[in-house]
Subunit: 510 residues, 2 copies
Amino acid sequence: FYLNVIVRMAHTGTHSQPVRACLLLVVVSVWVQQVDGVWPLPQQLDQSADRNSLSPQRFSFTYGRDSAAQTGCSVLDAAFKRYFSIIFPDFTKGSAMLTTLYSCFVVADNLSVSEGQAVLRSVTVWGALRGLESFSQLVYQDDYGSYFINKTEIVDFPRFAFRGLLLDTSRHYLPLHAILKTLDAMAYSKFNVFHWHIVDDPSFPYQSRTFPDLSNKGAFHPFTHVYTQSDVMRVIEHARMRGIRVIPEFDSPGHTQSWGKGQPNLLTPCYKGDVPSGSFGPVDPTVDTTYKFMESLLKEVKFVFPDSYVHLGGDEVSFACWQSNPNVRTFMEKMGFGKDFTKLESFYMERTSIVWQDVFDYHERIPQDTVLEIWKGETYQAELSRMTKAGHRVLLSAPWYINHISYGQDWRNSYAVQPQNFSGTEEQKKLVIGGEVAMWGEYVDATNLNPRLWPRACAAAERLWSDEEKTLNADLAFPRLEKFRCELLRRGIQAEPLFVGHCKHEYDGL
Amino acid sequence: FYLNVIVRMAHTGTHSQPVRACLLLVVVSVWVQQVDGVWPLPQQLDQSADRNSLSPQRFSFTYGRDSAAQTGCSVLDAAFKRYFSIIFPDFTKGSAMLTTLYSCFVVADNLSVSEGQAVLRSVTVWGALRGLESFSQLVYQDDYGSYFINKTEIVDFPRFAFRGLLLDTSRHYLPLHAILKTLDAMAYSKFNVFHWHIVDDPSFPYQSRTFPDLSNKGAFHPFTHVYTQSDVMRVIEHARMRGIRVIPEFDSPGHTQSWGKGQPNLLTPCYKGDVPSGSFGPVDPTVDTTYKFMESLLKEVKFVFPDSYVHLGGDEVSFACWQSNPNVRTFMEKMGFGKDFTKLESFYMERTSIVWQDVFDYHERIPQDTVLEIWKGETYQAELSRMTKAGHRVLLSAPWYINHISYGQDWRNSYAVQPQNFSGTEEQKKLVIGGEVAMWGEYVDATNLNPRLWPRACAAAERLWSDEEKTLNADLAFPRLEKFRCELLRRGIQAEPLFVGHCKHEYDGL
């Protein structure tokens, strides 16, 4: 079936009158620069210099007659409303006019803008969302405030199916609105997976129904620094409406110090000689209670987060504490693991899920359908070869740890990444299902999240969406990214500058 | 004469009642951590564990009877009001109570907090402002919201007289409120000079009365990206009330591309062979009209900015364009400069002012009272030796170019700077009058200014204020800086985190 969105644009003919009138007041260039920038770059984009006027009063999004989706399709109904506000911000402040303006008719993977009408065809509602985003980026204003769009033909689809962004809400708590804002900006860059690294050593902000003590005792504060069930639902719904999946990560058996505060006997007591030292190591994999607890917690998590994937971490497990503990050593002997603690970790990790690369690096048996995520920067190409040779699907994150800031235009490093440039067969290359931008939280909270994320994350967004051959040159991409960054400001995203200059709509109501 | 500020603190005796009541509801630690943190660290600080309750209702700032300043001293009257709001934020939202609460009496460089009363003595109103800041940092709240201050004796004075911060409003325009907010945060860290690098190559946002075309044609936008006379006055007054001088920089003869747009014939036309290339170089120092223009502009600038110093730049002058121009070459011959273009620059720069180090590095004669500012990072210690040997007062900025970000706790680099650690006599060391944190604008605008500045600039603030012997260890400073950063958040400054953790009052209303 097809979805089909028709955009009705009143064609106002010539517009020489207002221009002439304004010329009496100020002398400004009448010529409007053609906006040929869509970020990330569509697979095919043909634009002519012919431009059409857009009248906000006569503009509407409607479902096509032959469209499988019609009014009542909540994702698109809401998207029509949202994109009207994005395209015409001046017409939506304090006005209820909008709901009557658009009428929901048609829906139907291409976008065709011609005189008086634009038609968007898509096989899925999610594709229609991406098309609406592209459409919104094609509209521009001249110096007099009039809206225009050029005659345009776009055929588009993503290069990779998995285009993720990781936020870490354990090292610093991020308020709900910061997460929602990030989802907004993700949609503008066509990201489609929010990897929520929700808990870790420093704090456990997820308020569990089954184990409320985890956040009561493990969060930075039991009331102000937690995500309630309702918060989580809001995040998932906000993301869904924008075509974004939410994959939660409950990293274990390492990175679980905060879990131990609310769940006694979960972590391995470390020993100094023959006596417990008072500190704790990773989850204790030798006792049944651990597995019962993990089963209950994950049952809840899989219910609360409807996505088919849960990220189970498995990275950076320190073996020193396990080794110090006599019970663990006894268990190792019993299981015939000898002194190989990677076997113990493997024993613990055997699940179907996304896991960090460590699980592959150190373990013998991993189910074929486990997706592996590469995070170690130095050797990621070799890792891509090895993992795909073993038949695993992989996600590339190592070169996109953008919490690692540096002075200047470091987006160019992200842009230069070539995810399929490793030695392997064509079949192996296909096993790269996408990648993930990671914003780890050691030095990031609500004060600096947005300017660190945007527009730096946009570089990876284009690499994951667009044709690599058409987007190899960062210098060519630069002016388009500058424009897109100004567009992010106009939409209220606190995106930092790429270099010297200015935007018409600066941040913070200038 | 002496200024004397008395702080009346109602002593409410024991407060066991509310504590006991609350214990029925929640079990939280009753013990309040002693807050021995003042940033930057005072020269002498003695604190006891004895704490006094503070009642916002009974609290007032008053001038001492023997104080030379009394009610009507606008700087202190306003500071009393401001610091009441800072200390007791809950008592000032939407309430007019404040104006009746404090009565202005006394004023008198020490701060003594004891039971029921705190006395602040200072020789100048500016010292009193610094004392009020220290006082405000001594007050803390327990988990029940009650306010406390410990019995404390402070004797304090700054190590260096010049503690500056540079903002660049040419590479990106900074809206007025961003500048005002920066001044607020500067006062919290006891900075006392705002170095306003107001114009440069990319744009000329200063709206001149004498030469309006400079901003009309040289600003990014003639209305939205300019500083009007009234804007400039607001900045100066906002700064003055907080004990901060405003030193404007009109950098020339280089860094003047934007000037050329509104002032024809000011810049040197560059030549390609025998014909002008169409591009322009530095200010043309060979024609009288240049000096007439500069005289008029600087006359206005010195009137608008009351500070006794104007920074005249003088850095990074490219000689290639001068060399290409036949008129300049003729002038050089006439003046007997030969082929030494540094002599031409010297000819241009002979003024009493602060200038960048280049003017010293390349020129023969500089007036003894010109203050030199060091910006080149690699060689700053050698430069300190040479400049002070020549008898010049110097400002150190090179190691504090904090626009150069890097991953992690880079404030430690700023903190490790020892401005007087260079080979030279004691007399030479005294010629180091201070330093300046520089936030150049290539990659900075209103979206990321605050989290890049704060708390990173605080490291230099302490180095410039405090006893170096007592503040050598960054690890010891760390928890105090973390507390101060939380205090900045509480005061509405978007200061980024130093490391994993949280604040009671997070940014943005958490």
